[in-house]
């Protein structure tokens, strides 16, 4: 028996199978405009955008330890930028979405410098204050409809595509593209050197620091990138809705509470968690939404129970039971087969 017979690998059979199945799923979903109805496509589009938001929040809270309850600041900011840039800047909606991301990143820099002074839970409430400042600030802008909001002019909507079917397909593909892009970005980021540093910080901040990792800068990078992408998702959300108001754009329930529940139920600190959480969340919503407030109470109770009894969520339970990792991040040592007899 020699050491050379051992191999170190990231991949596994399950991961390869999952990658193939995932690719097939994405191809199937791309073709949805040819086989799905209008209502299903709307629902799927919304699901993709929630998946993107949840993956981003998970990267912040589950990996960088930045628990924000104020991500609605960037969702609403992105939405308002879409409206402002298309209505007053005369930009094409696609250009506006991209620029909303850039502006989101720019705005997040001073915000981060300020609220990174708060630690832990106080950081969380600090992000909420920022979101409130954004909400109250945009409510003061009378050109964007002030407190009552405004609708996207028909001419801009038509600039996407002249026919309604085509517009809906386009908006669906954008949402799907955003979700695939975000999940892929998060995955590749976590596999990179920066991602390794981030995981080290999560596991032990002091040890990470002693290895020379710049904790502040790593977290800062995550915050800015997440904010930029969240702003772009926000622009997409309000491109679907075609109407924006401060209360809808900066809603803590819609853009933060639901997202947190998705991540906690699915499994925080895993890439698979937000995907499972989003599916569970939409399944619950479609079956229980008629119950209104009761549904939200149930959701809150489920999240509390999961947090206390299974802190790694549904995916955490599956992973410990079957030793699965569909998005392989860690390396594992494979022993040569004939070793077992030796």
């Amino acid at each position: 028996m020699s050491l050379q017979n051992y191999s170190v690998t990231r991949s596994s059979k399950a991961a390869r199978v999952a990658a193939v199945l995932g690719a097939l799923c994405v191809i199937l979903l791309i073709s949805a405009p040819w086989w799905a109805g209008r209502a299903e496509m709307r629902l799927l589009g919304e699901l993709f955008l929630y998946l993107a938001l949840a993956s981003l929040w998970n990267l912040m809270a589950g990996y960088a330890g930045l628990v924000s309850v104020g991500q609605q600041a960037f969702v609403g900011f992105g939405g308002y930028m879409l409206f402002a840039l298309t209505m007053f800047g005369g930009l094409h909606p696609f250009a506006a979405i991209a620029l909303a991301g850039v502006l989101g990143a720019l705005v997040s820099v001073p915000v981060a410098v300020l609220i990174f002074r708060l630690r832990g839970a106080y950081f969380a409430i600090g992000t909420w204050v920022i979101a409130e400042v954004f909400r109250l600030g945009f409510a003061q802008v009378s050109a964007l409809g002030g407190g009552s909001g405004s609708s996207l002019p028909m001419a801009i909507v038509k600039s996407l595509a002249s026919k309604r079917d085509m517009r809906e397909a386009l908006s669906y593909w954008l949402a799907l593209g955003a979700a695939v892009l975000v999940v892929t970005c998060v995955y590749l980021f976590l596999r990179s050197r920066q991602g390794l540093a981030l995981t080290a910080i999560r596991d032990n901040e002091l040890a990470a620091k002693s290895l020379g990792i710049d904790i502040w800068r790593t977290k800062f990078t995550v915050y800015v990138v997440t904010s930029a992408l969240t702003a772009m998702i926000g622009a997409l959300i309000f491109l679907q809705k075609l109407r924006i108001s401060p209360d809808a754009a900066f809603s803590v329930n819609d853009w933060t509470a639901f997202v947190i529940f998705i991540v906690v139920i699915g499994g925080i600190g895993t890439i698979e968690g937000p995907i499972i959480g989003t599916l569970v969340f939409f399944a619950l919503r479609e079956t229980l939404a008629d119950l209104g407030t009761i549904y939200l109470i149930v959701l809150g109770i489920v999240a509390i129970v999961v947090m206390l009894k299974a802190p790694k969520g549904i995916w955490g339970l599956i992973r410990t039971r079957f030793d699965l990792q569909l998005f392989p991040l860690g390396y594992r040592v494979i022993a040569p087969k004939d070793d077992k007899e030796a």
Binding site: A61, R117, A124, I125, V129, I268, I297, L299, G300, P311
Partner: protein
């Protein structure tokens, strides 16, 4: 004179914010817990007050005699039944559990009391005023401020002159050694939460007499309390009162410039202080 009036009214308003903040400050000091549901608990206390005044026919201030012990009991049960399980090295469980609790409370109140704004009727107290040196002060705001000072003095006294306060300080300094010395930290935490929610009950009733309220306003109250705590400096109760006053003045002065600017001015004052004095004005403990 208008500006002097704005500053005086803001100071009195700050008393209410200090009451929002005192409970938050107390539980953070004792167990490093930040309760995201704090604002919703304030609103819940206001609704309890409403129910008591409506069914028993008591004056809202007399209803305190029922609401304060009720909230204290809820606090003890909540801490021992739920929140104690979340405490530990990891930051996520307390944060996410209290966040879930906030959603449950808000929607529970919505289910029971509907979304209609409510207000407590305190009779002549609401409109009574006293003239002082050219200013007209409402009796209710003056009373609120006096109650805030009394509550903070009482909390301070409890902390430094009673056995319970000694237990609070002991578990705050080192939970494990306090446990070894024969203190049951789970019980001590329960008592701290009971005391905090007792103060919250006072805040809720005074809020309910002052303005109309509905189930959705909890988040905003949490933010005001939080801002007062951070402005004043963590772990300093008198600092929290000062923080509340600064926040109140920023809001009334902001409202004087433009009515739509009131709340925003408070937030901006908070962010400015965070930028120049990250530990608040009178810090006592590090976060």
């Amino acid at each position: 004179m208008d500006w002097v009036n704005a500053i005086v009214q803001g100071t009195l308003l700050g008393g209410l914010y200090a009451l929002f903040a005192a409970g938050l400050s107390l539980i953070f000091g004792v167990m490093r817990l930040v309760n995201i549901a704090h604002g919703d608990l304030i609103v819940m206390a206001a609704y309890l007050g409403l129910t008591v005044t409506a069914t028993v026919g008591l004056h809202p201030l007399a209803a305190l005699a029922i609401v304060v012990p009720a909230m204290a009991l809820i606090g003890y049960v909540l801490q021992r039944g739920l929140l104690n399980q979340t405490l530990g090295e990891d930051l996520l469980p307390p944060l996410l559990v209290t966040f879930g609790l906030s959603v449950i409370l808000q929607n529970g109140l919505l289910e029971v009391y509907t979304a209609d704004p409510q207000k407590m009727d305190a009779g002549a107290l609401e409109t009574a005023s006293i003239a002082m040196g050219g200013l007209t002060l409402g009796v209710l705001p003056v009373l609120t401020f006096a109650i805030a000072v009394a509550v903070i003095w009482a909390l301070q006294w409890t902390f430094y002159h009673t056995a319970v306060g000694r237990a609070f300080r002991a578990v705050s300094d080192n939970q494990d050694i306090a446990q070894l010395m024969g203190l049951n930290r789970r019980h001590v935490f329960g008592l701290a939460m009971a005391l905090a929610l007792g103060v919250t009950a006072i805040a809720g009733i005074l809020l309910g007499i002052r303005t109309s309220f509905d189930p959705s306003i909890g988040g905003g109250r949490l933010i005001f309390g939080f801002e007062a705590v951070i402005i004043g400096g963590l772990g300093n109760l008198w600092g929290t009162l000062a923080g509340g006053v600064i926040l109140g003045i920023a809001q009334t002065v902001g409202a004087k410039i433009d009515p739509g600017f009131q709340i925003l001015a408070g937030h901006l004052a908070f962010l400015i202080i965070l930028a120049i004095r990250p530990n608040g004005l009178f810090p006592r403990i590090a976060a």
